[in-house]
Symmetry: C2
């Protein structure tokens, strides 16, 4: 069994969402596992001197045009959320807390969070909003609030983000296959080819 593929993403990134719809099936075709790794993209942007597309002159208008166009091309549901980029701290911390007990539940939560935020255009910045998704996985309001107040849970996300930046991650999505880095939803065809051929 080969090593799993690392799939780094930011919940507030629509290209991360679009890639999340394809990455597992691409990997499965080559009998590879995928580890989903949400990070705080803001920290990676700070490290690489980038700013969010949505807020940049010229790039902003293109972004709001390219994202829906890319979604339509994939037949992926997409409704632009009210706040772009949203604050994904609560969502990402919840993910890593779930991950440490059950990776499958954590992935199901990530998919549901992406669907709510990008598929349905719902803001997912607050604990109450994240609870709308987490609740469907049997997590209670009290449990989620206690979890998100836990310094260890906060540190977990910080550590994962630092580790990602240390591995060269600066955007979302960012896929690493056997040490080979691929940035962007538009690199998934290359990821697939890399898996098929072992590189070129």
């Amino acid at each position: 069994m080969k090593a799993p593929i690392d799939f780094f993403f930011e919940f507030a990134s629509p290209y991360g969402y679009l890639a999340s719809l394809r990455i597992d099936s691409i990997a499965a075709a080559y009998e590879r596992e995928v580890v989903w790794r949400p990070i705080m993209l803001g920290a990676a942007f700070k490290a690489s001197g980038s700013v969010p597309n949505a807020q940049a002159p010229l790039r902003g208008p293109y972004f709001f045009h390219d994202v829906p166009r890319s979604a339509r091309l994939m037949d992926a549901p997409l409704v632009m959320p009210p706040t772009v980029p949203m604050n994904s701290l609560a969502a990402s911390r919840t993910y890593w807390w779930l991950f440490d007990s059950d990776q499958d539940i954590a992935r199901g939560f990530a998919q549901a969070l992406f669907q709510a935020h990008w598929g349905e255009g719902r803001d997912m910045s607050t604990v109450d909003q994240v609870l709308e998704v987490a609740g469907t996985f049997g997590i209670s309001a009290d449990e989620l609030r206690a979890t998100l107040a836990d310094p260890g849970v906060k540190q977990r996300l910080k550590d994962e983000t630092d580790r990602a930046i240390g591995a060269g991650v600066f955007g979302s999505p960012f896929v690493i296959v056997d040490g080979e880095p691929f940035w962007g939803a538009d690199r998934l065809d290359q990821v697939e080819r890399w898996l098929a051929t072992g590189g070129w």
Copy 2:
């Protein structure tokens, strides 16, 4: 006859070079002309708050890895030049000067310039270096020096760059098909599909 496709690029951009190897054949399959439009990407970066990939932490190392990998995937010749990004002022001014008398010669010059810089890794920043390419099109040293000292020639490139920024261009390559903008060499498949289908 439909309107031509606008192909904006920066000579110092390797993704512009890679796109230049495909754009004409993609357009020709749909009986469309392409107007090649070199710009000063630095001005567009200033307008959009971007910095060159090569100089950015994290993005720089990825860039120097992704560019050769993308070239190998296309079987395109690529030798990393000594200075990235080079100063493309002389090359771009020469292009627009040629363009105003003969678009085909201008395109031939652009292709030869790209080949020298990215295909063979030769710096093309100075007038003498540009002359190595321009000379093969029958342009003499005296003629090129006089041209590049002409304020009208300098203004021509500035006007083209301003017009591109006004049309929303912020990166290289940047293709506009019937008003529809596509940024990046990795959007050429979408350009082709747009030409084939008229949009989605």
